[in-house]
Symmetry: C2
Subunit: 208 residues, 2 copies
DNA sequence: ACCTGAACACCGTTCAAGT
DNA sequence: ACCTGAACACCGTTCAAGT
């Protein structure tokens, strides 16, 4: 979408229908094929066929653009997580948590550059990008809700739910970034099973 | 050490005793006060009082320098881990693993920029920096050795030792990077207890 | 051997100006 | 409103040259 470059031959207008979205699309497209750190504002503007200065009409700076890219990433991760959860019985807490975890790790491995932007250090100033909080909170709440339900159903040990949720999050995020950094090498087709094996150890630890 | 800059006033020689080490020292110094991504070769050369081009006599490129910085980081982390382990009875597997984990997370939180270079994505090309492997392997082996001993002593569950070690690693690395990215906010003085709480859940999962 | 001057091809960001 | 030309202050890296 929003491809109207044509290498300067027949460009009809300088006004994009939606330059903001075009830049975000270009970023996602670039992240699918290049590394996260080699993506530049100027390169994105070039892809869209616009002077790089135009980006500043829509984003305060590069990090603001990346924050939106991260937000979109978390949103599609959330969708995947929710879809996975629907495949289990309401009271199968362990199965649901295992599926969430597996979906998380697989998402990271399928979108490595995007995931690096999402978990990257650029976006760590607290409050700098408030648009990022709602989706992060929503994702966290999905897991914490599951943990609470599991405790009520006496399937999980009645520990502090926040800490238990953070423990699960640390496990999947940790495994994801070890895999992306190739510190742990797992063939693609074995990753789901590997993630299950790792996560099951944590699930065992928090089980009732 | 190796401070002989003097803003160009009385520099006696262009020949450093050891420019290589001076650049590494400057990098560590810079990482103590600045963010990981804002550190540049040119800035390091400036700090040392040398043309930036001189760095290429000692490092093939910027990433090669960062790889050595990462290596030094892992080496001091390893020293800390070994020191912590010595504080426990030989057969107190859980206590030893908990101490290792705590030392890891505290190291990351005390040296955030350094830890980001260590775990950063720049160094993920497998085989690009072979000097990094030995210390990483050594660190991994310390934990895996502890896991094996724990299984033999029937304190840990007889699961696949590599996967168990990776699970522990994922937990501490995941928690560390969530804390650094401020996705999880824990006051400094409560971090050790928080790390224990998270790691204990995993330790419970792998216990016999 | 070790270091530098000058240059190349990039960055992110800002100003004043164009339609 | 939306976009650009020109410029600023940076990058990493390379070449040919200096001691």
């Amino acid at each position: 979408m929003s491809r109207r470059v044509d290498k300067g031959s027949t460009r009809t207008t300088y006004h994009h229908g939606n330059l903001r979205q075009a830049l975000l699309d270009a970023a996602l497209e670039a992240l699918a094929t290049t590394s996260a750190e080699s993506i530049s504002l100027r390169e994105l503007a070039r892809r869209v066929g616009v002077d790089h200065r135009a980006a500043y009409r829509h984003f305060a700076d590069k990090d603001s653009l990346l924050a939106v890219v991260a937000e979109e990433g978390y949103r599609s991760l959330l969708v995947r997580v929710q879809r996975e959860m629907a495949r289990h019985d309401e009271d199968d807490t362990i199965g649901r948590l295992r599926s969430i975890a597996r979906a998380y790790v697989l998402f990271a491995s399928q979108h490595p550059s995007h995931y690096r932007v999402m978990s990257g250090p650029r976006l760590n100033e607290l409050g700098r990008f408030p648009g990022l909080e709602p989706v992060l909170t929503e994702l966290f709440d999905v897991v914490e809700g599951e943990v609470k339900a599991g405790i009520t159903a006496r399937r999980l040990s009645p520990m502090d739910t926040r800490q238990t949720t953070v423990a699960l999050w640390a496990t999947v995020h940790g495994l994801s970034s070890l895999v992306l950094a190739r510190r742990v090498r797992v063939p693609k087709e074995k990753l789901a099973a590997y993630a299950d094996a790792v996560v099951d150890r944590m699930l065992l630890g928090i089980s009732a």
